[in-house]
Symmetry: C2
Subunit: 246 residues, 2 copies
């Protein structure tokens, strides 16, 4: 049996997220791709991703693998997928993987990017890909503060409230805030991501950039391990899973 | 009476173009903005744009003006518009204009950008903003050829077939082809644009880059003044009105 690995790009706007959600009206990205694979390969397929993404979150480089008996050439499979998938989901790569490769367990780190549109008026062209924030943000203070998150820490303060408490220690390998014109890009690479952690960190950084939280707050919040001290969760639409590293 | 000038950004995907089209199912961008202005200002508004854009064509910097008796502050008007307009249309600027300012007649030049996604697989995230072209394009040949269009010429060969023949002499002030990763951007600034001219030039450049038309073809096509010699019309979704210069 072959184990095939897909690199997937999607616009999450019209989906309930990667995974099937019971009672949710929108389709999941996983089910749409699985059904398309089943239609092409004429066998039951179980698609395993590097991790879930929430409703409205995008991906440039989600990775998912599945086992198949099919002998179809990879290029042909990719073309068939891109021909049959809806336009807001596409397959950037299809590769053979080792028999024991597992998209989630094998992932060494993942990189997310959060994009804020920081100007007085929204963008018609970027509406689904950015969080429009009209108030001035002090990017220098945000850049200075964010360094305290680098390295191995207990990120409990940034985990979604209501999460089942588990291991909340993670290592952030890279975190960077860049301004390009009216866009602020926050890049975070970590060995694992707690539920909503990026959106909670971004929501907190925005409060700092806006002056609602004073310099030094990020460290205090991190050390408090208390979700209530952090800022609000930034909206899903600004978030994109950029890359999964193996 | 005040004469107000708006700078408008829109995603043209879900519209029949700037202007109302009889019998077209989709709304026009003009009618949506006019109705929103009328709702805010409570008077009949006639919105005059720098020029029409076709169904599916986008704008970062369309300019339109209208006359009003309202004394509403510009900032308030802009906020009200951005609050009430659908998310795929927004107002980047609202300014006072001279009493005799006319968005179309006063325009000195306009700049359009056409974006081609040139790789083997489409993009879920950019699907509405680029033309996905999967075959290799020789960008160097395209860049070398395109210079012949610079300056004052009769562009009849690139005017949409079936156009009412009028004056077809225009001046292209700037034309540039850039490659950024998998994206090819073609920027054209001219004193005026014949109907479909950018999409016809791009369609022809693609044929050249693909090797279907030999080097030197662009000059021959230009001199032929015959639409039948040029390449096909590139799709609307890759086109964006970037700026109107006054």
């Amino acid at each position: 049996m072959r184990n095939l690995k897909l690199k997937i790009e999607y616009d999450g706007t019209n989906y309930c997220g990667w995974q099937v959600q019971k009672g949710h009206q929108l389709k999941s990205i996983q089910e749409v791709i699985q059904k398309t694979l089943q239609r092409i390969l004429q066998e039951k397929i179980k698609l395993i991703a590097s991790g879930r993404t929430d409703a409205g979150v995008h991906a440039e480089g989600q990775v998912a693998n599945f086992r198949t008996n099919s002998k179809m050439a990879l290029e042909k499979l990719q073309r068939a997928l891109n021909g049959l998938l809806p336009e807001d989901i596409c397959v950037a790569e299809a590769r053979e993987a080792a028999a024991d490769f597992h998209s989630r367990f094998a992932a060494k780190s993942k990189a997310y990017r959060y994009t804020i549109l920081n100007r007085k008026y929204p963008s018609a062209l970027l509406k689904n890909a950015v969080y429009f924030y009209p108030y001035p943000l002090d990017i220098k203070i945000m850049q200075r503060e964010v360094g305290v998150l680098l390295g191995r820490h207990n990120f409990k303060a940034f985990q979604a409230s209501g999460s089942i408490t588990g291991r909340t220690v993670r290592t952030i390998k890279r975190i960077r805030i860049l301004k390009e014109g009216d866009l602020i890009r926050i890049d975070i690479e970590a060995d694992g991501f707690l539920y909503s952690i990026v959106r909670n960190i971004v929501g907190t950084l925005i409060e700092i950039g806006r002056g609602k939280l004073s310099p030094g707050s990020l460290k205090k919040i991190l050390l408090s391990k208390d979700r209530k001290t952090a800022g609000p969760t930034a909206p899903a639409r600004g978030l994109c899973l950029v890359k999964v590293n193996y």
